[in-house]
């Protein structure tokens, strides 16, 4: 009977109950949307870093990372790349020659990181070809072709076909200069990297650095299934025994920190939304209790004990939550599913976002685990919010309650 009374009680004041239900729905929906949007943004950023910059695994000479000197190389990388690629779990492998230096145009100069790449293998690795906005992706056939970022081109005041000079030290610590012609200008989603990274033919850079054929500074591996990352790392040790093998989380600790901080972010955002929800529920249920003081007094007088009164008030809140939660959850899930496919276009802010390495189209996404957290927190909040109004009802003295106007 208590279940029946509580259920009917919530429909006595339909508008008020619908306001509470709506606030629960909006609360859950907003929580899911904000978290999925943020996670979509971070995930995009992580994917951008992994698939367009770092790859899943990188192998270097153990000293290369510390000294950042091109003389620390991995030998025979062509053969090693072939061996790695022969493993079915690996999607692609590429080797890179890397040096740091200066790029000089007729008007100005800038510090750059020079990547000597094999254009063909990078098409399946960092897919730089997709970012080319002007010119072509190493299609001229000339060995001194260079691909630079749009921001760097603007800084250097150079255009397509302009001549630039790269200056760097070779492995013998001699200063080397090489003239290059801009064959393509690219624009990635990370403007800050566009200003620093330049790409040239690997063979040409290797010659300028005086490295032996098939000597590289970096081997990058993309795997098919990220869950197999650890086993592939172990497999790579067998092929490059003296190399330092690191996955993307080790190469870019800030990315793994993003994932960890996102979990904290989940609780903070949910907490803020639920705090607002708490006050809404307390206010409504308190009003509902105060409006029924005489009725509650009558119930106590005819024999309904305080424990049952408490349960009745708690049940009323529970029912409101039970109606609001699945609707909020469903609408949140539908929003995430739909926008996860179509994406949210933030192109009007893309300049600002790109400078932080974020894409202009955000695809909201949320793990199932986060849905469970939001729903659990919402249910717990609703129950906790009902305690105070129910407690107030327990404080009533039946005779005083009946006398109340």
């Amino acid at each position: 009977m208590l279940f029946q009374i509580a259920w009917r009680n919530i429909w006595r004041n339909k508008s008020r109950s619908l306001v509470v239900i709506s606030s629960i729905i909006i609360g859950i929906w907003a929580g899911i949307f904000i978290l999925s949007f943020s996670w979509g943004m971070y995930k995009n950023n992580i994917n951008e870093s992994v698939y367009r910059q770092l790859s899943h695994i990188q192998i270097h000479h153990p000293t290369f990372g510390e000294e950042n000197n091109s003389k620390f190389t991995i030998t025979n990388t062509d053969e090693k790349a072939r061996q790695l690629e022969s493993d079915g779990r690996i999607a692609s492998v590429s080797s890179r020659v890397i040096s740091s230096g200066m790029i000089t145009s007729p008007t100005t100069a800038s510090g750059v990181k020079i990547y000597g790449i094999n254009p063909a293998s990078e098409i399946t690795q960092i897919r730089l070809n997709e970012y080319v906005r002007e010119g072509t992706y190493f299609e001229s056939g000339k060995e001194n072709e260079i691909l630079i970022g749009a921001k760097l081109a603007k800084k250097l005041k150079v255009k397509l076909k302009s001549k630039v000079v790269l200056t760097f030290t070779n492995i013998n610590s001699e200063i080397i200069s090489g003239a290059f012609r801009i064959g393509g200008i690219y624009r990635s989603k990370n403007i800050s990297l566009d200003e620093v990274n330049v790409y040239v033919h690997q063979k040409h850079l290797r010659e300028l650095l005086e490295l032996k054929p098939s000597e590289s500074n970096e081997m990058a591996i993309l795997v098919k299934n990220e869950e197999q990352l650890e086993t592939i790392k172990k497999f790579s040790v067998g092929i490059v025994p003296r190399g330092k093998i690191e996955d993307w989380k080790e190469l870019s600790p800030e990315l793994s920190m993003i994932i960890e901080s996102f979990n904290l972010y989940t609780y903070i955002i949910s907490g803020i939304i639920l705090l607002a929800l708490t006050f809404g529920i307390i206010n409504t249920m308190l009003m509902s209790v105060l409006e029924r003081i005489r009725e509650l007094g009558m119930l106590m007088a005819i024999g309904l004990n305080k424990r049952k009164i408490f349960i009745m008030i708690m049940l009323e809140t529970f029912y409101l939550t039970l109606i609001g939660t699945p609707i909020g959850l469903l609408s949140g899930w539908l929003t995430v599913t739909t926008l996860g496919k179509t994406g949210i276009n933030l192109s009007m802010f893309s300049e600002g976002l790109a400078s932080y390495g974020f894409s202009s189209i955000i695809y909201p996404a949320l793990d199932q685990e986060k849905y469970v957290i939001i729903v659990t927190m919402c249910l717990v909040t609703a129950i906790l919010s009902a305690i105070y109004p129910a407690y107030k009802a327990l404080q009533l003295n039946p005779s005083e309650a009946i006398r109340k106007i």
């Binding site: 009977m1 009374i5 009917r8 006595r12 009725e295 005819i302 024999g303 004990n305 305080k306 005779s399």
Partner: protein, 232 residues
Amino acid sequence: MAKTIIDAHNVSKTFNPKTIPVHAVQDVHVHIEEGEFVALVGPSGSGKSTLLNMMGGLDEPTEGTVFIDGVEITKLSENKLIDFRLHNIGFVFQSFNLIPVLTAKENVGFVLQLQNMPKTEREKRVLALLEEVGLKDKINSRPGELSGGQQQRVAVARALASKPKIILADEPTANLDSKSAANLLDIMAKLNKEEKITFLFSTHDQRVIRKARRVITLVDGKIESDVEQTPS
């Protein structure tokens, strides 16, 4: 000799004892026997509702003791008192008598459900009670769909449901028209006569007073007169 059903000894009730004390009931002694039909009368503020509440275990006296059917209810814990009321006392209030979200049948059955009466037996008794108060055709109506008089009759049926020893009614006819009030009083008088249920009313309604066989008059929280009469 009739059995004593209510025995209130030197009962006093003071509201706001620490600030501005209001002595609602002062040193009252009331002795009511089984099957009596008593009207507690007096002007507004005379303390009749307070005395009634104390005799029904809804309010605790500041001083004195109340015995119902030999049980000293002033010594019972809150939960035991609620349970005692459930099984021994029926209440009819002036207004807000029924649970608005339940039908007449459910309102009457509510008390029986609290007593854990089996469903079949409960339904049988509820129908019999509603028939007795003349509302057999309104069993599925909610309080909002019933007139004031009909609501009070449902309240009487509910008060009777647990087969209480006494029924306490606080101004039961205050919001009723003459016809409804007369009808309600007839039902109560019949139940009193046929089932020997003790009725105690707080009222200043002459229609109720005329029906009572005993009239206790309270003035300023004290008993001014306690007389027996022949009901008209």
